[in-house]
């Protein structure tokens, strides 16, 4: 498709995508809202049965489309860059949408809740398999059992270079720290530039 990345690109910022993944109710949209300059918006992709795969439709043959909603926010970085933060759809069966979101993404935050740590396994697996740089942020819910970060790391079987940090998804400063950690990690992970 015709696009303008060349001479006219000065007039347009470059869009960068970051993903916020994790289990249902772990605070993805809360974190997006805490750091976004706009209130979180929702966009929908309508999937046809071709894009979801036949297995998912067994028993519901009449339903030929499914709507997948994603919440997202925006952070403008001067005039040159604009970050879009996308909360990934909760249901891991929508791999089609995950693949689309992950394409070109700079990196991902996997939000974890220590009361339901297993909920973030599929996200960790997905980004490991795809090679997307990611970090794990443990959302500190009131009353949630506190584990040492090493214990979380061990439970998730993460390699030592994956950053794991505590956060409070409701707090802007905390969300900022998470995003900075992610971008630094992605920077260290980037392939060596071809000269």
């Amino acid at each position: 498709m015709a696009s303008a990345r060349s001479e006219q690109s000065k007039k347009m910022p470059t869009a960068i995508k970051l993903l916020i993944a994790g289990g249902f109710g772990v605070g993805k949209t809360t974190m997006v809202g805490a750091v976004s300059e706009i209130r979180p918006l929702r966009t929908e992709e309508v999937l046809t049965n071709r894009s979801i795969g036949v297995d998912d439709l067994s028993g519901v043959e009449a339903k030929s489309t499914t709507t997948v909603a994603m919440d997202f926010g925006r952070i403008s970085i001067g005039d040159d860059f604009v970050l879009y933060l996308f909360g990934t759809p909760g249901q891991e069966r929508f791999w089609f949408v995950w693949d689309e979101l992950a394409r070109g993404a700079l990196g991902a935050v996997v939000l974890a809740d220590t009361r339901r740590l297993a909920d973030c396994f599929p996200s960790v697996d997905y980004f490991e398999r795809r090679g997307t740089p990611f970090i794990v942020a443990v959302n500190c819910f009131d009353g949630a059992p506190r584990y040492k970060l090493d214990e979380v790391k061990m439970a998730l079987n993460l390699s030592s270079e994956i950053p794991v940090l505590l956060c409070d998804a409701r707090r802007r400063e905390s969300g900022k720290e998470v995003l900075i950690t992610l971008v630094q990690h992605a920077y260290g992970r980037r392939p060596v530039a071809k000269v």
Binding site: M1, A4, R5, M12, A15, E44, E45, T67, G78, L101
Partner: protein
């Protein structure tokens, strides 16, 4: 949501709006940016109200996802409408940096500085 509702509001209407056109060309990313480069003159034959709304919204660059959210339409429908506007010279599109290009040191520095300054 029952299936009938889903069918009525989210499938039929956008399909009619795009007159049955589906996304045939390269699929625009959700963060592909659109910006208006030519204003509409009020009456534009063949453009729907949704097209005109996009031209108005995109005075500053907006992503496919944002346009879809503002119009309350599925992203796929917005991609088709953007294709129409591109063909008629109303908008310019900027695709996001390809994955292989997300390694520019300047970009990381700018993003880190920008985040720290939030």
């Amino acid at each position: 949501m029952n299936e009938e509702q889903l069918y009525d509001e989210q499938v039929v209407r956008p399909y009619v709006m795009t007159r049955g056109r589906v996304e045939a060309r390269a699929k625009l990313d959700l963060i592909t940016l659109a910006v208006t480069i030519r204003q509409t003159t009020g009456v534009e034959v063949g453009l729907d109200p949704e097209h005109l709304t996009i031209v108005r919204l995109c005075r500053r660059p907006l992503s496919v996802a944002e346009i879809a959210a503002h119009l309350d339409l599925p992203a796929g429908t917005v991609r088709v409408l953007l294709g129409d506007l591109l063909d008629r010279g109303f908008i310019m599109l900027q695709e996001p940096a390809p994955e292989v290009d997300v390694l520019d040191e300047r970009m990381y520095r700018a993003v880190l500085d920008g985040l720290r300054a939030l």
